[in-house]
Amino acid sequence: MTALLEVRGLKMHYGTVKGDVKAVDDVSFSLEAGESLGIAGESGCGKTSVALALMKLQPGNAKFLGGSITLDGMNVLALDDEKIRREVRWKRISMVPQAAMNALNPVFTVKDQIIEAILTHEDVSEKEAEKRTLELLKRVGIDPSRAGNYPHEFSGGMKQRAMIAMALACNPEIVIADEPTTALDVIVQAQVLKVIKTLQRDLGLSMILISHDLSVVAETCERTVIMYAGSIVENTSTVEMFRHPLHPYSVGLIGAFPKLTGERKRLESITGNPPNLLDPPPGCRFHPRCPHARDVCTRIVPPLLETHENHMVACHMVNRHPEYR
């Protein structure tokens, strides 16, 4: 069975005056139809770059140095911009961008903006588009009577819901949600996450949710990918990830979240700082901060291997270290 979306060895660098920022380095993962995948990692780990690459919305100074993105057997990277714009973006893959609250144009009503999005991508009548818009807004929990409001009349959570409705406007197969709840307060965040989860389940969407907050990913996704310094360090089901994380970084990251229930104990922190991607360390990029690093880690980049069933991890020490299992 082939996956709906298949990313293989994706390598994307940003050219800057100081040299190449190695933002995405040999990233591979796949997304099955109807699956929800969470990509988690700290700021600057390359998770947003991956999302932009999937839509081919990467900034101008980005350079693809290898790899492929295959959507339903079609190599997205090989398509020209026009074709992507007409056939892929929005219709097949759509995105709820970061800081979505500012993504709405303040001079048009929310309804008009969604109708506009439908009309640019699909050949339907305006009436049809309006009908679909109201339906979408209802789905994300916005009362259709408020559809004619301007964005400033919406609260933060409602704007975010509207952005989700807009992302769904052309019935895409895949929705990428990039930090969809970062600027929201907890209660509203919970409401929006619930909307996302319900929609994903009801519409059978494939979803990639990108967040720096592991708990958001844990709440929402079936599968979790953890990225560090431009590479994937671990990829497994969410349950497995939180129950038995294998990569030392994943272990540290999960351990760094204080618990809301249970015993209060001192959190263990990961020492040091994430590397500068202009000049990442050789070998495993995590080795300068890793408590288990050996000589081999400083020289050879660990490949992402399926070390246990349905559990991929990129660490040389994973099977040699009894602590992990």
């Binding site: 700290e42 700021s43 609260s155 933060g156 959570g157 409602m158 307060d185 907890v186 209660i187 509203v188 965040q189 919970a190 409401q191 996450l193 619930k194 720096h212 907050d213 592991l214 708990s215 958001v216 844990a218 709440e219 969410t238 349950v239 990830m241 939180f242 129950r243 540290g252 990251l253 999960i254 760094a256 979240f257 204080p258 618990k259 809301l260 229930t261 209060r264 001192r266 959190l267 263990e268 922190s269 990961i270 020492t271 700082n273 994430p274």
Partner: protein, 348 residues
């Protein structure tokens, strides 16, 4: 030293929305943002008091007003039993030195044009501490050691932009510690930091508290961090303290529907512990038009007529645990199930 180091009594801070010259000339009534609307609590010496709430609830304003960084509209803050407002001018500065603040964004709170040395020396200069460069340098090195910027010499003449976020926040903490304060307000000190770094800063603050016997008002929007850090906790909603008490009492057995809602809403990094349905809807209104009665009533699933007209006072449900809800005793005694809608109550 009294047991209660900081006592906040009826703190109120209203901001005019916008006052133009014309408005003030005509003495026109301008709408007020009721950022803090009557907040009272006490912080025991040596403890960490966590002040939690969503954005706009007034927790940051409270923190600033407590250390007199902004003038409160009314209310008193007693520090060590002394009302700072009533002190003669000359003594105020000495008291202010004992109350310090750590800011949210270490990228913003350090002047980018100053070196670490200059930044940490600034409070010394202001208060005229340390005679001569030698003594100051020794004090600065000591403070940097304290916050684990080791060896200090390596950091002294670097600029903030050359440091990572965590290191910058340590510099900000060093600036505070160098004045040897007894009370520190920490205003979301880790919210701008990445997860792997923020733990270090949190642990550092716990260690310093232990070592120096600091009293800390820890402001955060993150309940999990508040739980990790604080001994006592206060929950704010729209400028009011709606529940406060021991951290375990408040977070494990919340007696105010808002606290219950917050607890239910926090995502948990545990895929198996999925939450149930949320009992509240809608979003926090602007603090310009605060609802009458209980300010939470429009969103509260348990609200009844009395809530719409009468504001519930903050009263104890058990010793050391107070809430501001007419139904708090029902929740506390288990007659109402927490986190469940009223219509579902009967089912069990």
């Amino acid at each position: 030293m009294s047991e209660r180091l900081v006592r906040v009594e009826g703190l109120v801070k209203h901001f005019p929305v916008h006052m133009s010259l014309l408005d003030s000339l005509l003495r026109r009534e301008v709408p007020m943002v009721k950022a803090v609307d009557g907040v009272s609590f006490t912080i025991k010496s040596g403890e960490i008091f966590g002040l939690v709430g969503e954005s706009g609830c007034g927790k940051t304003t409270t923190g600033r007003a407590v250390i007199r960084l902004i003038e409160p509209t009314s209310g008193h803050v007693l520090f060590d039993g002394v009302d700072v407002d009533e002190l003669p001018r000359g003594e105020v500065k000495a008291y202010r030195r004992e109350m310090q603040i750590i800011f949210q964004d270490p990228f913003e709170s350090l002047n980018p044009k100053m070196t670490i040395y200059e930044l940490v020396a600034e409070p010394l200069e202001i208060h005229g501490i340390g005679a001569g460069d030698e003594e100051r340098r020794a004090l600065i090195s000591e403070a940097l050691n304290e916050v684990q910027l080791i060896p200090p010499e390596e950091f002294l003449f670097r600029y903030p932009h050359e440091l990572s976020g965590g290191q910058r926040q340590r510099v900000a903490i060093a600036r505070v510690l160098i004045l040897k304060p007894r009370f520190v307000v920490a205003d979301e000190p880790v919210s701008m930091l990445d997860v792997s770094i923020r733990t270090e800063v949190l642990n550092l603050m716990l260690d310093i508290r232990e070592k120096l016997g600091l009293t800390i008002l820890f402001i955060t929007h993150d309940l999990a961090i508040a739980r990790y850090m604080s001994d006592d906790i206060g929950v704010m909603y729209l400028g009011k303290l709606i529940e406060c008490g021991g951290t375990h009492d408040v977070l494990d057995d919340p007696d105010h529907p808002y606290t219950q809602a917050l607890m239910a809403a926090v995502p948990v990094p545990d895929a198996e512990r999925r939450r149930g349905d949320l009992p509240i809807r809608g979003e926090t209104p602007q603090p310009i038009n605060v609802p009458p009665g209980c300010r939470f009533h429009p969103r509260c699933p348990y609200a009844f007529d009395r809530c719409k007209v009468e504001e519930p006072p903050l009263v104890e449900v058990e010793p050391g645990h107070a809430a501001a809800c007419f139904l708090q005793d029902e929740f506390h005694a288990g007659r109402l199930k927490r986190g469940r809608l009223p219509e579902d109550q009967a089912e069990t």
